[in-house]
Symmetry: D2
Subunit: 491 residues, 4 copies
Amino acid sequence: MNILPGTPFDCAVDGDKLKEECGIFGVTGVHDASNFVALGLHALQHRGQEAGGIVCHDPIQGFNSARRFGYVRDNFTRADVMKGLPGPIAIGHVRYSTAGSKGATAIRDVQPFFGEFSMGGCAVAHNGNLTNAAALRRELIERGSIFQSSSDSECIIHLMARSIQTTLAERLKDALRRVEGAFSVIAMTRTKLIGVRDPMGVRPLVLGRIGEGWALSSETCGLDIIGAEFVREIEPGEMVIIENGHLKSHRPFAPAPSRFCIFEHVYFSRPDSSYGGRSVYEVRRNIGIELAKEAPVEADLVCPVPDSGTPAAIGFSQQSGIPFALGITRNQYVGRTFIEPTEQIRNMGVRLKLNVNRSLIKGKRVVLVDDSVVRGTTSRKIKDMILDAGAAEVHFRIASPPTAWPCFYGVDTPERSKLLAATMSEDEMRDWIGVDSLRFISLDGLYRAAGEADGRNPEAPRYCDACFSGDYPIAPADKLKEGFEMKEPAE
Amino acid sequence: MNILPGTPFDCAVDGDKLKEECGIFGVTGVHDASNFVALGLHALQHRGQEAGGIVCHDPIQGFNSARRFGYVRDNFTRADVMKGLPGPIAIGHVRYSTAGSKGATAIRDVQPFFGEFSMGGCAVAHNGNLTNAAALRRELIERGSIFQSSSDSECIIHLMARSIQTTLAERLKDALRRVEGAFSVIAMTRTKLIGVRDPMGVRPLVLGRIGEGWALSSETCGLDIIGAEFVREIEPGEMVIIENGHLKSHRPFAPAPSRFCIFEHVYFSRPDSSYGGRSVYEVRRNIGIELAKEAPVEADLVCPVPDSGTPAAIGFSQQSGIPFALGITRNQYVGRTFIEPTEQIRNMGVRLKLNVNRSLIKGKRVVLVDDSVVRGTTSRKIKDMILDAGAAEVHFRIASPPTAWPCFYGVDTPERSKLLAATMSEDEMRDWIGVDSLRFISLDGLYRAAGEADGRNPEAPRYCDACFSGDYPIAPADKLKEGFEMKEPAE
Amino acid sequence: MNILPGTPFDCAVDGDKLKEECGIFGVTGVHDASNFVALGLHALQHRGQEAGGIVCHDPIQGFNSARRFGYVRDNFTRADVMKGLPGPIAIGHVRYSTAGSKGATAIRDVQPFFGEFSMGGCAVAHNGNLTNAAALRRELIERGSIFQSSSDSECIIHLMARSIQTTLAERLKDALRRVEGAFSVIAMTRTKLIGVRDPMGVRPLVLGRIGEGWALSSETCGLDIIGAEFVREIEPGEMVIIENGHLKSHRPFAPAPSRFCIFEHVYFSRPDSSYGGRSVYEVRRNIGIELAKEAPVEADLVCPVPDSGTPAAIGFSQQSGIPFALGITRNQYVGRTFIEPTEQIRNMGVRLKLNVNRSLIKGKRVVLVDDSVVRGTTSRKIKDMILDAGAAEVHFRIASPPTAWPCFYGVDTPERSKLLAATMSEDEMRDWIGVDSLRFISLDGLYRAAGEADGRNPEAPRYCDACFSGDYPIAPADKLKEGFEMKEPAE
Amino acid sequence: MNILPGTPFDCAVDGDKLKEECGIFGVTGVHDASNFVALGLHALQHRGQEAGGIVCHDPIQGFNSARRFGYVRDNFTRADVMKGLPGPIAIGHVRYSTAGSKGATAIRDVQPFFGEFSMGGCAVAHNGNLTNAAALRRELIERGSIFQSSSDSECIIHLMARSIQTTLAERLKDALRRVEGAFSVIAMTRTKLIGVRDPMGVRPLVLGRIGEGWALSSETCGLDIIGAEFVREIEPGEMVIIENGHLKSHRPFAPAPSRFCIFEHVYFSRPDSSYGGRSVYEVRRNIGIELAKEAPVEADLVCPVPDSGTPAAIGFSQQSGIPFALGITRNQYVGRTFIEPTEQIRNMGVRLKLNVNRSLIKGKRVVLVDDSVVRGTTSRKIKDMILDAGAAEVHFRIASPPTAWPCFYGVDTPERSKLLAATMSEDEMRDWIGVDSLRFISLDGLYRAAGEADGRNPEAPRYCDACFSGDYPIAPADKLKEGFEMKEPAE
């Protein structure tokens, strides 16, 4: 049979696609909580565009839910959808659009997941990735569980169903003690809103107050949009249970060193979100400053690759004194792929999205600042466009170290062999892309930009930087069983 | 909480709606089996119009499925749907449109259900109703099962998951020995097509051959459309397992008297389907003949209430000598409800569907033949229309006995208090409807029409006629627990 | 250029498709007139299934309109559509689904057409076909008119725009005096509802009263559904103008002999509609009686080809004494075409729609009664199905004379060479279809059934029967120019 | 009647909505020209988001067209749409989404318009606004033209239909000589691609070469996306006719001074488009530089109001030395309006779209640079957000002079009384918005930024700046008739 045991039959999901980045949001103690969740998910839309779901509870109408493909704005703004989601407590989830077609995901894969237990219903929204999900799934199926989705997150519900604890919160603790990996979870019962981060705190989760109510969000920008006041981050390994307006903090897991995902700073989070009192925008600008120190160059213009390279480009310009300019314009209406008219047009894909300001660029030495290089194919096309427009020189500066290792903690990355930096040195990459110079920020520089004045402490790094370093803080159990080879410890 | 333990949260399904009539179809040993299943389901569309589903298996592409709301013809004719359903074995299901809105059913309620077990996948399509499903569901949830649909049929999959048998067929036997009620089931594994009828054979299931392959269908009309040859009916209590082109018959249940649903003859089955070598059309025509003997009347025209009263009206006309005429025309484009323009129009609902041929009816004494009277409200409206058109007399003749009891075996009936015949005598009904005469066929007459020359044997009736007699061959366990009162045995 | 001058550019409509049958309806003097029009069009849906449109006028909100592809029930039942159609006067149109794909018709071809004139707006709905439309169109374009649709009916609006009359009603008279062909027209201005039939009255149009208001409808069944009382038919060559609750009758055309389309009786009108005080059902039953007299046969069963052959089959049975039976069942869910599974299945198309009642037919001599034979291909397939089911003999009886000539007056017929009866004698057709006998009713028999006791008067036939006789009462000017050859007068 | 003579009936379009900004594109001499047009329109999508249309011609398949609501990327990327648009010549149009609902526009209002004339078909796409359209429309209707859309641009087609010229190009000249106002037009016949600008060249139109073919586009970014080489701008008052690969230039109008719309520089055109060899981005950056000179301020950060204020903010920062920062983040997923959860949330609308980077802004003196102030309501909300985030001071700098007059030449502006600058002085506006300072660039400063070293020459201004100055280069004839009052000449 061509599908793994436990993989649902109408999803042709390959291994990669199960690792997705997501956004989660929950609120309690407000009227029409689902409307707040819709707003929060809208603010978190950059974390997942494929689909979204909301579960809510009302004392009269019980649990209700809606799951939809597409943007939050197109679904959870409709009166017919929202009037079916009443009550003072609600949680929601947005899901990343993986490389495959929408058809590859069944609507039943869209979170939050819901389970009906003898003591009542419970909904769970998960951001992250479980590294022992395949093994757990096999075990659960052996013992009689029927999986309905292809999502590893469904394990949590089935583990709860097997727990002998008598409250849902205790059952959730039981379940999460069995899973390994990176997770931020928002759960709800009829009366409780629950937030949890894994022991290392790989994925973010923040807490806010809105009037007498409370909100949980992947990022602070979700609090801003609903007018909630930021209280604090949920701590690594912490579970907060909010009931009747009161919050209690629990510590269900063994202590572990904190390892927040540094890629949230580099690319994933919105620039107006903050962690540790520092906005992501500022970290990115700092990266640009560090980069200008580490890899200076003589040039006429600093141009960001829109839009994610902009803050680092501003920092690079400010440090280097080279004028900042919007040399590449992004078409905000990019969507489906056009039918290529003829072979007359090269680089169609990138032209649909980006255009070079020819009269600005012509004859100039240009520094292009981008956030990262994954496969490198887009970098080549951008270089072509810039040269076509008559640039005299092109210098790439990358606001992250070389991405040489896949992420197993909730970010969708190609397998290792597809990562340009896994197979080439920096000079080889420069030649392959075809630019005058190419420099990545160092790992230490990145840590400095993120506030670690001394750079990365190899004994106890403050962040998870496995995608750059190959240093995986949580063993990827399922992947090792499939044959993934970790970096040699001596390396 | 306002939903029962185990009821999924986004379905507001009341108790009634769980009892639905359905159609099931399966085929193996042919190329592109799903196309045959689509055709078979199209022929069975009268058994369920709300939604349909197909699961199939292909040696290369494994299990695939599609579930859609709406008619078979609108979904399972599309190349984009069907190309995703490859392979030589497939089963399907059509589901009845219950009174509520489509929104009341989640797509996850649409069968066939599928479970991934350690020994492989299995899909199950169920026609009928399980009378102990609520109790089973509670027990399964206690033991850690997570239900994903509101359908009682899902119990079968979870019971299979709990079985200690090592083959799927044996697990299915285990599961079906635990359920009570009426069921015909078509199931499939990677290589086996399985058909089962409950011990009393309440719901139909027939077997056909197509080339070297085999087909299972609720009715013979499903075999006709694919050009399959009718072989025989699956017997009550029989399980057939077809693998590698060979059929084996099993008897997993204790023997029980056969009690085929007599309402399949009266209304539910298509007139061109046959049971016991006799077409449903002929039984219905015989009912008309018996009715003309039991309840003769002087009149000018015999008119059917379209379309289901037509065969009995033909029989009534042939026996009585009163000319048969199409006095009421049915609009074949009936669909959504129109916005009522003003109160000027009475009886809008029925006018959208039916119109009286005024010049034909005017001044005539008319016998109207209908298949059944449930709430009686439609009968009143039809009587109004006939009188408005100038009929001199209106005589109703009903091709079934008074429907005085709800069905718990898979036909959607209102609760007992809503059934006109549960609260009124025949004369009271006549007066309430407002016609010159009203007569129902006797239970004995109905049995004679169905081939029992001596009428109904009260000691061992050949059919399930609980909706007419209150004689329930299978105790409705869940309903009794909810407070349903059976007929006094002495009555 | 591959499209004729004047043919709009996004319609690839060939000549045939311009000749379509339609249904028209109008009402004035009621609240929310559009709701009545929606109901009337629903009752007339059999006259056109491709698309529908409504134009209405409200003193405050002015003219409004909606045009939609698909059934009336799916579009003009929606609150969002209907609330945009306010006011006490409205007219509507349903359009026939011609052989081509829906894409072949632009929404701008959907009537009623609307023109804004210096004295106000006017909407026009047309049933029929103009035989000099191509010539008129060329002339109008020469003079500066811009056509926006592919419909010949648009000529009427442009002719009105060119008229020097000062009222819209007079301009409509001017326009209709310029056109040739068959037409029933319903038009409206802000205050007037207007109904017109062409001088020969080829297409139907009836008048009804609803409270203090008035209604116009293609058929009486449209009056029935809204509860309107039938008043009379609009007479050939008559124009009625209804304003402020009063009706005035005009005679804008030179007198001409009445030639109502006899095919309305044979097939097109609904059986519960009436013309001349006689229901279409009764005429069809009479045809069956005449047919049994003209072409008797020894047989066991008379079966209609559903559904249109049913009334004639009833008449045939009653006259011949051979029992009437529903030997062929029609699947009411027919829609899109299924993907043919394999070549194992012959006659797929007809099986999707029709199934033979095998146990009823087996070993019987069967008379099949159908309404007409056009290309003959369907007749062959039905014969195959009946023989496959084991019939001993098959005798076809056709409720119309051989269809040997195309219609140019609003019925969509294939070109002459495609009509079976244009190329074969009755015996040749019998052999080609492959039945034991085949007989058509005579033209005289048809006239007798329609109430002409002496049959057809060749000097002054009461009906248009050009499709049977080749006797075209109105010269098809455009077609003659294209090379169509009329029957030799001597023939 | 509530609609003006000549206004089509299913559009409730008020006067304002007829003035819309659009984008036009055409190409000839390439395979599958429509695919190029789709790309060009995609690049011009910022000029009109409501709907788009393409007309093309193929020697075999003749004229074809498609019109769709929504983005180019969602419609003209679909194979089923594009395969219906074959041939080597095509033109297209995108239409601005006016304030009303989509329902307010009928699909028949979507350009290009098409007319079938005796010498063949002609399609016309128009960007701009005709100031005498209402008068022309009335005259044409009097003479027998039937208007099918609410668009004034349709006049062009009807004027062509009335012309006595024998070629389509000459008829187009005739028609355009009759219209007044601002227009750039792209037209096509079977073989000719035609581009025209009005005598003053108010709206842009540029010419490019692609291989052996030619392209016409509203802006140069439309040439870039298809890989065409920019040749030159079409000159004010010029008509170019391209046929068989050759271009001929005509001068059909009386000479007039050039008055290009200066608002194209300020806001409307894409920053990567160029006019007169200078990119729009550079003009906008220059505006920021001029603004920093004219209205300096002590502050900590210069932040753009995203996205259109960005280039001017960069210029302001570079001139002033105050650091540039992205203090406001724009949510790129803005779409439908959310249901407001409760009154707890103020400024919901702007929060859906914009969020302040709190940790960046807190305690800072902020200069906000925006492109323009129309009603001023958004400016107030942005000020609230910035202050809520803890800014110490807020200074608005506006990259255009006060918008005090409506545009009648193709830009959708509110009526004069709704324009903040029409009723308040700069100081009053500052107080009403509630900021520490508010300064607009001067008209002279704007001219300097656009390359006029000496500022605006009041005797012969190089641009149309009516929205700022009230100096209307073309008399708005229809508006004057409706009562619009021009600025006093002495003022």
